[in-house]
Amino acid sequence: MGEQQELVTITIDGREVSVPPGTLLWEAARQLDIEIPIYCYHPKMDPLGACRMCFVEVKGMPKPMTACTTTVTPNMVVSTDSPMVKKSRRGTLEFLLINHPLDCPICDKGGECDLQDFTLRHGPGGTRFDLYKRHYVKPIAVSDRVLLDRERCIACQRCVRFCQDVAMENGLVMMERGFKTEVGVEEDAPFDSIFSGNVVEMCPVGALTAKSYRFVTRPWELKRTASVCGQCSVGCNVLVDVRVNKVLRQYSRTNDSIDEGFLCDRGRWNTELVNSPQRLRTPLIRRNGALEPATWEEALQLVAQRLRAVASTHGASAIGGIGSTHTTNEEAYLFQKLLRAGLGTNNVDHFHGRFPAMERNGLPWVWTDSIAGLEKASHIVLLGTDTYNRQPIVDLRIRRAIRKGTRVYVVTPEPSRLDRLAAGTIRYNEGQTGAVSRALLSAVLSEPLTRGDFATKRAASVAALRDSLAHTNTEALAAFAGADATALRALAREIAQADGAVLLYDEMATRESTGETLAQDVLQLALLTDNFGRPGAGTGPLMEDNNSLGARDMGLLPDQLPGYRMLADGAALAQAWGMTLPDTAGMDYDAMLAGGVRALYVMGADPARHATPEQLAQLEALDLLVVQELFLTETAKRATVVLPAVAYMEKDGTFTNTERAVQVVRRAMQELPGARADWQILIGVANALGLGWRYGSPLEVLAEIGRLVPLYAGISRRGLGAEGVRWPFSAGESDATGKPTLVGSPHLTWTMVEHGVTGNGDGAEPALPRAHGEQG
């Protein structure tokens, strides 16, 4: 926070509270734990003042005031339970109830309905209305996923304002007027937003309900577990709502620095992952060419025996492991430990983007700013990323930034849902994100548009970089990519003049044909235009899956140990593990699939899905293919042994999201009978191999990570609290939400740049890296 603000002190119901100027009475009362009932107000949207539910009495005012629209003034004296307030609230509730149908017994919202709750606490005991209620056909579908019961609607406009002001998408609108007011959808503007489920949660009554949740439970039958959504790399905080061991929905559990209390429809309603009848319920062993059910004991023994066999005939280097971007940090850690310490190989990797190798003590390729920081950016440039579909809640934050005036450029091959709101769009041919980014970098170097400390102090490196790109130019690269060079140059200029630009690219865009240099080109672009090291400026990848970053951090890499330690620096780890570690780099993902290994251990990944026919043939030719999975995937179908695993709702652990917040995932239900959590399976295999692992729970694994992985040094379950912690965990500086941040920590930022980019941390002027593939 900037300057110290004078607080305003007011009295509510005889109790004093001091709050910053501009605070709404509703918020001030909340700080005293005084409930002021609200319908139209929503803390994440502008006050509306429509429902007239939040009345309070302010001394000196003849009429009751709405607490959601009245800001504090010094020495204000407020009453929330005076006779005037009580009568006014009863009046509003009586009005709301005259047209409300009596279908509470079959209403999905019953039990978590604000109309029920506030009537109980603030309402009249009965009604004086003995005339005719308004009637509508009920319910009507306002989208494929959401139903509307207009009779139940209290016209608070939360849903409509969410669509318009927060999601900024087509959707629900108010129609007609007066008592005929209804919510509806315009014919030519369907309500098909990925954010649509939020209106169901926000609707204070049962007017908007979810098709998938209709009539399936009463809210009080739900077991609610605070956890983190595992359906994309954003890591929204959720309550997993389970009834009789079936997940019915995820509900928001507001974390202001990540999700602000919103979820996307995938997170909210995609329960197939865990509820599907197709889940594997027993280990399978290939016998006579077919996968047949087996006991866990048989399966684990078989895995151990066959792994040992391959090791003794072909050596440890004939064994490889492909880990998961979905499983927890603890599981990723145990997986590589099993491969490295247990089986003696560095052949471990996962499906990930291409980032330049890091040097000694390098810091990872991460987004240097944060989700919340997007709101501070003057510019956001999206390179080859479709945030709407891939990281929807980041997309929602970008929309909030747009509302605050941020200029967004969508630089993608395909049109996106953000185009309509963007300051500009640039299209190019599929697979050319790298070329386009290089075209921007080339424009910055050639015009030149460089500015700031970094560029000045490293003039020689900048010149070298310029020379290394001399053989090409923006126009040639743009033509190659099928993009508009003029637009790219204009964008480069805007980036170079921005107060703060955030440049984001999709992790997987680095896998495209021109993607090899994407990550470093974009980092250089940010550095050379001085869009770095400040809030609202920065760069980084948007990761693919819920724990893509965690998988890297935990060492699912053939050439680096957990926390990106070099293989050569593995002594401490080896000592702690009581094992010798292989010191040569292992095979990477592609090499393993290209026939490099005889035995492949796959945890929570489906390489067959993106495999070429040759790779498929290699998979089938393996001596041993072990697969830990929820479903009989294409890879599992080819396995020697399939070990049934569980989904994130069924286990404990931590995930690291795309802005590198480490958050706690909690077990919300019993594991599917017959299946086991990946960490349990790994322990089972380790012990079948005679490794004597004694972890009793993921908590103990996390503690080991905190001890042995410098990057996660000091991490603990308690320290992670309810909302997680963003790495670096111990930096002195913190953001507005009190979390440490890279942006606020110039030292770390520069260290990262100098290690991560230049691999030279000794203070001498570092050379900028050569673009991959350029001759040096």
Binding site: A50, R52, P64, S88, F95, N99, F129, R177, G178, F179
Partner: protein, 453 residues
């Protein structure tokens, strides 16, 4: 006429005689809606005077001095409103002329100004824009007034053609564009902030205030909103000077107003009279008294949003303060006279239906309350009501009044609350005799009937 209505006795040497015609001077002149005729009759001379003899700020002062108050309903001092515009806001400023005239009983803006003498409003708009340093003004015409809209649009076109609009008006260096916008038919769009929403192409919902339009108005820019009559009065203030204008009316209600007289009178119509003219003078001397020689039962003095006055209050002077002291409001000066054969419950039902249908639906008390009130009144009027319905009506009104988002909700309660006070027995008669006390559908014996006054 034996008396000079609306003048203080001390003030007997009035510059323009007892009943000046600041607005209606040219009423009845054939073709006055065309620019040539209007100019032949002195039209646009005030504009020339304003542009040549005044600095904008001096004009604001002049309007302040004239004591001109808003004619849209609330009677807010016009010059003071103009003075609220922030001096240092870099955004453009706008003037919106509120021509949404929809208040039941009100037909002055439409008939006397827009249909008959549209150039008066154009002239007033240009002068007012000059005074407030506005370069784009909007005239928001009610959707149901196609003729008024056509007349205004033509007058604006003529003014452009004559160099009175556009760039460098009359060589003064002052630029102004006027856009005539026709609404889509909603009473609420006469409420100034809903009008702005509507102009911006949004639903006609009133906005939360503060911020007030003077600071954050049309397209979030500083905006003045004035009624048609208010703006049309400005040329007269410039022509005659503030002092002459302020010589009329009462101490706090200066000048003249267009009184719209309707209901059961012999000669309904618009009358321009000084503020403070007694209600009785208006009804009897100008309106020719109650139709068919009947008695007055009640009068609505300022459009349907104002409480009833009773016959014993006929001597109330029609100025803001006196009508307020009598328990009602001068409002839009839409004076509706009800004769003694009017069923008050029926009349109130009609008025309440209007508010139910015109409620924008944004806030709960107005949206749901008017729906309930109408049903209760229907039941009472039809003779099926219960005695408890009468206090219930009053209590519903109490839950609407002062609890709604905008004044429309309050307005909906006025006729009900005041009629229950004045005519309780008539409501009761509907319960006990199952029908009206008076009028063509009267039923049962009138016991101590009529106004309980």
């Amino acid at each position: 006429m034996s008396e000079t209505p609306g003048t203080t006795p001390a003030n007997n040497s009035l510059p323009l005689g007892p009943t000046p015609r600041f607005l209606t001077r040219n009423f009845g002149v054939p073709g006055i809606d065309r620019i040539e005729v209007y100019r032949q009759h002195g039209g646009y001379e005030s504009l020339a005077k304003a542009l040549t003899q005044f600095e904008p700020d001096a004009l604001v002062e002049e309007v302040k001095k004239s004591g001109l108050r808003g004619r849209g309903g609330a009677g807010f001092a016009t010059g003071m409103k103009w003075g609220f515009l922030p001096k240092d806001n870099p955004k453009p400023r706008y003037l919106c002329v509120n021509a949404d005239e929809s208040e039941p009983g009100t037909f002055k803006d439409r008939v006397m100004i827009m249909e008959v003498c549209p150039h008066l409003l154009v002239e007033g708009t240009i002068i007012s824009s000059f005074a407030t340093k506005v370069h784009h003004a909007f005239i928001y015409v009610r959707g149901e007034l196609p003729l008024a809209e056509r007349q205004m649009a033509r007058a604006v076109r003529e003014a452009y053609d004559a160099g009175l609009l556009g760039k460098n008006i009359l060589g003064s260096g002052f630029d102004l564009d006027i856009t005539v916008h026709r609404g889509a038919g909603a009473y609420i769009c006469g409420e100034e902030s809903a009008l702005l929403e509507s102009l911006e192409g949004k639903r006609g919902y009133p906005r939360l205030k503060p911020p007030f339009p003077a600071v954050v108005g049309l397209y979030s820019s500083p905006t003045v909103i004035n009624n048609v009559e208010t703006i049309a009065t400005v040329p007269a203030v410039v022509e005659h000077g503030a002092d002459v204008y302020a010589a009329y009316g009462t101490e706090k209600s200066k000048g003249t107003r267009l009184y719209c007289l309707s209901g059961h009178v012999e000669r309904p119509g618009n009358y321009e009279l000084p503020l403070g003219v007694p209600l009785r003078t208006l009804i009897e001397d100008y309106g020719g008294g109650v139709r068919g020689g009947r008695q007055v039962k009640a009068v609505v003095p300022g459009g349907s949003s104002t409480p009833f006055l009773k016959p014993s209050q006929l001597d109330t002077p029609l100025d803001y303060e006196s009508v307020a002291a009598a328990g009602s409001m001068l409002g839009s000066a839409g004076v509706i006279v009800l004769d003694d054969q009017t069923c008050i419950v029926g009349a109130v039902l009609r008025m309440t239906e209007f508010y139910r249908d015109e409620s924008c639906g944004k806030c709960t008390p107005c949206r749901e309350g008017t729906f309930w009130l109408v049903q209760l009144l229907e039941r009472l009027e039809a003779g099926h009501g219960k005695e408890s319905d009468i206090p219930l009506l009053a209590d519903i009104c109490d839950n609407i009044f002062g609890r709604s988002f905008c004044p429309l909700g309050d307005a909906a309660t006025m006729s009900i609350v005041s009629s229950i006070k004045l005519f309780y027995n008539e409501y009761l008669h509907h319960v006990t005799a199952h029908g009206c006390l008076v009028g063509p559908r009267a039923r049962g014996v009138a016991v101590g009937a009529g106004a309980n006054v």
